[in-house]
């Protein structure tokens, strides 16, 4: 049976949730400021070329990225300042259900890491195995990562779906779907 929680306790939990969010936003704001400063000091000077014969500063290729970078820094500062001045943000922040606790948190991060590896693997494997085979393996691996409660259905879809997509894109849309070194489909 579910126990009743007092409104006071709920309010405390909401405030605690807001404070966590505010701390998170402060770090987010600091990261954004750092990103903006990096744009202004490194990325724009080194990676945006501007010819010497530009008629006016506002027409230079560097002008727009520079304005955008200043806006990023300014918004980062406003974000940090607003979270430092006052704590709560908005009611809908309560919808964020937190990062989980203990094992759940570790498992979540582990699954995300596995997903990142899977994505890299798909990109690397596509030219070697072909998109169809790489997709089949990716689908199956995805099902393993999330411990699919329907392994047989997952396996069937893992085989059938890439073949159907290959048939459409290759034969209807005329896309040259990568074939790979080991499997050549008609």
């Amino acid at each position: 049976m579910q126990t009743e929680r007092s409104p006071l306790k709920l309010s405390y939990q909401r405030v605690a949730s807001h404070m966590n969010l505010n701390n998170k936003d402060i770090w987010l704001g600091i990261g954004i400021i750092a990103f903006g400063v990096m744009l202004l000091t490194v990325a724009i000077p080194d990676h945006v070329s501007s010819p010497s014969n530009v008629r006016a500063l506002v027409l230079a290729p560097t002008f727009w990225p520079t304005i955008v970078a200043y806006m990023i820094v300014a918004l980062g500062v406003v974000l940090v300042a607003s979270r430092l001045i006052d704590r709560p943000v908005s009611a809908s922040d309560e919808t964020w259900n937190g990062d989980g606790i203990g094992d759940e948190l570790i498992h979540g991060w582990a699954r995300l890491l596995a997903m990142a590896v899977l994505m890299v693997g798909l990109v690397v494997a596509t030219p070697i195995l072909g998109m169809v085979l790489a997709s089949m393996i990716t689908f199956a691996a995805f099902s393993v990562i999330v411990f699919s409660p329907r392994p047989v259905t997952s396996l069937v879809v893992a085989v059938v779906l890439p073949l159907l997509l290959y048939a459409f894109f290759s034969h209807v849309a005329g896309v040259a779907v990568p074939q790979g070194r080991f499997l050549t489909l008609p």
Partner: protein, 504 residues
């Protein structure tokens, strides 16, 4: 040519099997996708986009519009059956739809959702036909300064209303503008953030960015917590809405439709606020207001009319001004661009037949939605039950094939994954993705119009205040920012009150 001449000239483009089939398929795809928790109308339109490359422009765009309309209606299905909105636009439908399902009237609620959606859809489409051409002819007098201020206003309002925080919305839009600068400079042709990679010289692929932002984060979110987000599916129960019930709710449906039309024609507001406003107006004016929230059929009608009233109206700024009204129309603008069409006032001059063919297609889609919806009501229960453990990897594979198909380039898949992780980071930090995408689309247009204005004036910024139109857009931009800051401060003081109350 007048409106009727244009419609008559466009009729042959729509009156063929391909167009009808595209619309019907789009509606079926949209309804199914909208009905599956974890999918959304946005994701469905984004995933369908690559399938339109091989089609004629009109057929492809009609397919996407079918998905859009079907998806918005489809979102009401899980809202009613499992208390989980299929799309954010259906959030208001839960309020009375789910209590009706609990009372054994799920079929009745779905029926009313369908009839209200179709009625609102017709009104919205008629508004589009009547106002888009007029607005486009007015916009023909716009020059670069006017377009610059218009886009600035659109971005401000989209950034402000998309999420919970104005700062985060603006931040999202500014990051979208930054990403739009990647590639060769529009005027001088020099490199900007290309890092000497030829793949980046043409800028980032729009479809890879949008699928990355809107589909991949949902997949990652599922991977983070595979067990969550599934409720109990209610039985359909009593299935028919009587004509008397429809007539009783008719006033709320019409009111909700017009609320949807008005809010939909303003860029950035979207379907969810329209649904809630329509719902609250229906409750305020209803003699049964105490029954709202407990299973009042008029509540379902009002919220569905509100969100579907937006569908046609969001195309008004898209077609007349070239400014997408929401994320879905931002994706639709991508379909136009893929087929070499640029929405905006000139399209009514250069491609009037396509524009009016779309109008006709939209009218037909309302009828098709009614037919498809009526037939499919009995099947909805099974659609909602699709296991996410099979759905999510399927979406991933669809994304991979779809994004690769744009340019036959694996680099686009890398961009999609990169944007997916960025989108997931934004999702976890409550940063809305919609302003990012719309700014990414409008960024080159904004910069181009700004630089053209500066070229016209030899760098004199006074040109940005040259006419009453620019003054109007500056004024509404400032008013919007002021209103959003005021709302934010109100929320903050309300939340502070909660904090002090909890300390007491």
């Amino acid at each position: 040519m007048n409106l009727f001449d244009n419609l008559a000239a466009a009729w042959p483009l729509v009156a063929n099997f391909e167009s009808f089939f595209a619309l019907a398929s789009g509606i079926v795809i949209g309804v199914v996708a909208g009905a599956i928790p974890g999918m959304s109308a946005t994701m469905a339109v984004a995933l369908t986009l690559p399938f339109t490359f091989a089609l004629q422009p009109i057929t492809g765009i009609l397919l996407l519009l079918g998905v859009y309309k079907g998806g918005i209606f489809g979102g009401s299905i899980p809202a009613i059956l499992i208390k989980t909105p299929g799309t954010p636009a259906s959030s208001a439908t839960i309020l009375d739809g789910y209590p009706m399902a609990e009372n054994g009237q799920a079929g009745k609620a779905l029926g009313m959702a369908l009839y209200a959606s179709c009625t609102a859809d017709v009104i919205s489409n008629m508004s589009l036909i009547l106002f888009a051409g007029w607005l486009a002819s007015f916009a023909l007098s716009f020059g670069p300064p006017e377009f610059f201020t218009l886009i600035l206003f659109s971005l401000t309002i989209i950034a402000g209303v998309s999420g919970d925080s104005l700062i985060k919305g603006l931040l999202s839009a500014v990051c979208g503008l930054l990403l739009a600068t990647v590639g060769l400079d529009l005027v001088y042709g020099t490199n900007r953030f290309t890092f000497n990679d030829p793949n980046l010289m043409g800028g980032l692929n729009f479809i890879a960015v949008l699928i990355g932002l809107f589909a991949i984060p949902e997949i990652l979110s599922y991977v983070w917590h595979p067990g969550g987000g599934k409720g109990t599916v209610r039985a359909l129960g009593e299935q028919h809405v009587t004509f008397a019930e429809y007539r009783k709710s008719f006033r709320s449906i019409i009111r909700g439709s017009f609320i949807g039309v008005i809010l939909g024609s303003i860029p950035g507001i979207g379907a969810a606020p329209a649904a809630f406003l329509s719902y609250s107006e229906a409750r305020r004016r209803s003699p049964n207001k105490e029954n709202f929230g407990k299973g009042e059929i008029e509540g379902v009608a009002a919220s569905e009319a509100g969100n579907n009233g937006v569908c046609g109206a969001t195309l008004i700024p898209l077609l007349a001004l070239g400014v997408p009204g929401d994320v879905i129309t931002a994706i639709v603008i991508g379909a136009f661009m893929v087929h070499g069409l640029q929405p905006g006032p000139m399209m009514f001059v250069a491609n009037a037949n396509i524009v009016y063919a779309l109008f006709l297609g939209l009218i037909i889609s309302s009828v098709l939605l009614l037919i498809v919806g009526s037939v499919a009501i009995r099947l909805f229960r099974y659609i909602v039950d699709v296991p996410r453990s099979v759905l999510m990897p399927s979406v991933l594979i669809l994304c991979v094939f779809g994004v690769y198909a744009v340019n036959n380039n694996v680099f686009d898949i890398i961009v999609m994954f990169g944007m997916g992780w960025l989108g997931y980071f934004m999702m976890r930090n409550n940063i809305p993705a919609a302003p990012f995408l719309i700014a990414f689309i409008l960024g080159p247009l904004l910069e181009d119009n700004f630089r053209q204005a500066m070229l016209m004036s030899n760098g004199d910024p006074q040109i940005l205040f040259r006419s009453w139109i620019t003054w109007f857009f500056w004024a509404v931009t400032l008013i919007t920012i002021g209103a959003l800051i005021r709302t934010g401060l109100h929320q903050r003081s309300a939340a502070s009150g909660l904090k002090f109350a909890s300390k007491d």
